[in-house]
């Protein structure tokens, strides 16, 4: 849970920072964040297909100098990546409730 809070605040700070200025560096940093969160979810079997797709699209937009589009896409990637990590954390706790009781 601590980790979850840390991750969420990281995301928050990161989004705040973005509000001010949009640079090549800030957007690539954002993509890196999304990638790292996605990797986090993936290693526990909770990667989402959509995150990877968004990350790829964001990278392509960035490579194409479409900063605003890349920013939007990577924000969405961050969002789904965070949701997937949240899912993995929550499921560790609740999965047992679904099995039929012996």
């Amino acid at each position: 849970m601590k980790r979850f809070i840390a991750l969420s605040s990281m995301l928050f700070v990161c989004l705040l920072a973005q509000a001010n200025q949009l640079t090549m560096e800030s957007v690539s940093e954002q993509i890196l964040q999304a990638e790292s969160l996605h990797q986090e979810a993936r290693t526990v079997g909770h990667g989402w297909v959509v995150t990877l797709k968004l990350i790829e699209q964001a990278k392509a937009a960035l490579a194409d100098d479409q900063l605003i589009k890349a920013d939007e896409l990577s924000k969405r990637a961050l969002g789904t990546a965070l949701a997937s990590v949240t899912q993995s954390i929550k499921e560790k706790r609740v999965w047992r409730s679904r099995k039929p009781s012996s």
Partner: protein, 271 residues
């Protein structure tokens, strides 16, 4: 990661809760489906969704009358009968091929789950052959032939105390929500089993592993269980894993125990 998870699971398992007992898990699940489908015998679920939908069953039976996987079985027989460079062959590892009832098993030395596909490659490597690709045709054909020679044998696997953690990991995987659609395997194949998801009747958990590999009309070829795992994952927006990855092998281990005592009926044709 997995080591951490496995440790955690092992701890939980070691706590002596009834949930760590595969046999009581199996019985609870069987009861669940008996109550859900009072008119369907548990053993009938080896036909998957065709046990639950009379209309599609009729078409399926028409397919099974002379099924397209017969060629795969024939081709698999040829592969199975071929000799390795050192003169040995699959028969030296698997006899006549009727061994599927005892797979997967937990290998104490390797401390991991060994599926039939893994054993096929172990057999090859021991004789100096290259392992086959798990997503390739040859391994599907070989396992199709071995499924055929194993038909009607009753699933009889063991979960030794050392294998409990792997079994539990498979179980956890089965019951955990995944993907953007936020579905677990059990949502579709327990709570929604027998119902329709678009045009598909959802099959029951029990019987899921008995009929593999499967000639899927959608694939237009025969393919392994793990291909279906991956497809299921992707259908809920989750990233699929590698065929024969540790997690998929553990999932197969759990699912196979849930079908313990049922006859093997592979290969089969499916939608």
């Amino acid at each position: 990661m997995t080591r951490g998870t496995v440790c955690l699971v092992a701890l939980l398992a070691g706590a002596g809760s009834a949930s760590a007992d595969p046999e009581s898990d199996r019985q609870a699940l069987a009861r669940y489906f008996e109550q859900r489908f009072p008119d369907v015998e548990v053993a009938a679920h080896i036909d998957g969704a065709y046990a639950l939908n009379a209309q599609t069953r009729e078409q399926w039976l028409a397919m099974e009358d002379f099924p397209p996987y017969e060629f795969s079985v024939d081709d698999g027989e040829v592969l199975f009968g071929a000799s390795f460079k050192d003169g040995s062959g699959y028969q030296d590892c698997f006899g006549d091929g009727n061994v599927k009832a005892h797979f997967p098993y937990f290998d104490l030395k390797e401390q991991s789950v060994v599926t039939l596909e893994l054993a096929i490659n172990d057999c090859r490597v021991a004789s100096g052959e290259e392992p086959l690709a798990y997503d390739g045709e040859d391994i599907a054909l070989l396992s199709a032939y071995m499924a055929f020679t194993s038909r009607d044998s009753v699933i009889d696997i063991e979960v030794p105390p050392e294998g409990l953690a792997a079994y539990e990991e498979g179980k956890q995987y089965y019951y955990s929500r995944r993907g953007q659609l936020n579905f677990s395997c059990s949502h579709c194949h327990m709570q929604m089993s027998g119902m329709k998801l678009r045009a598909e009747t959802l099959s029951a958990t029990i019987g899921h592993v008995t009929h593999w590999p499967v000639y899927r009309l959608k694939w237009q070829e025969i393919g392994p269980l793990h291909r279906r795992f991956k497809e299921c994952n992707e259908q809920v927006g989750a990233e699929g894993l590698e065929y024969q990855s540790e997690t998929y092998r553990n999932l197969e281990y759990f699912l196979t125990y849930m079908s313990q005592g049922l006859p093997l009926n592979g290969p089969a044709s499916r939608k």
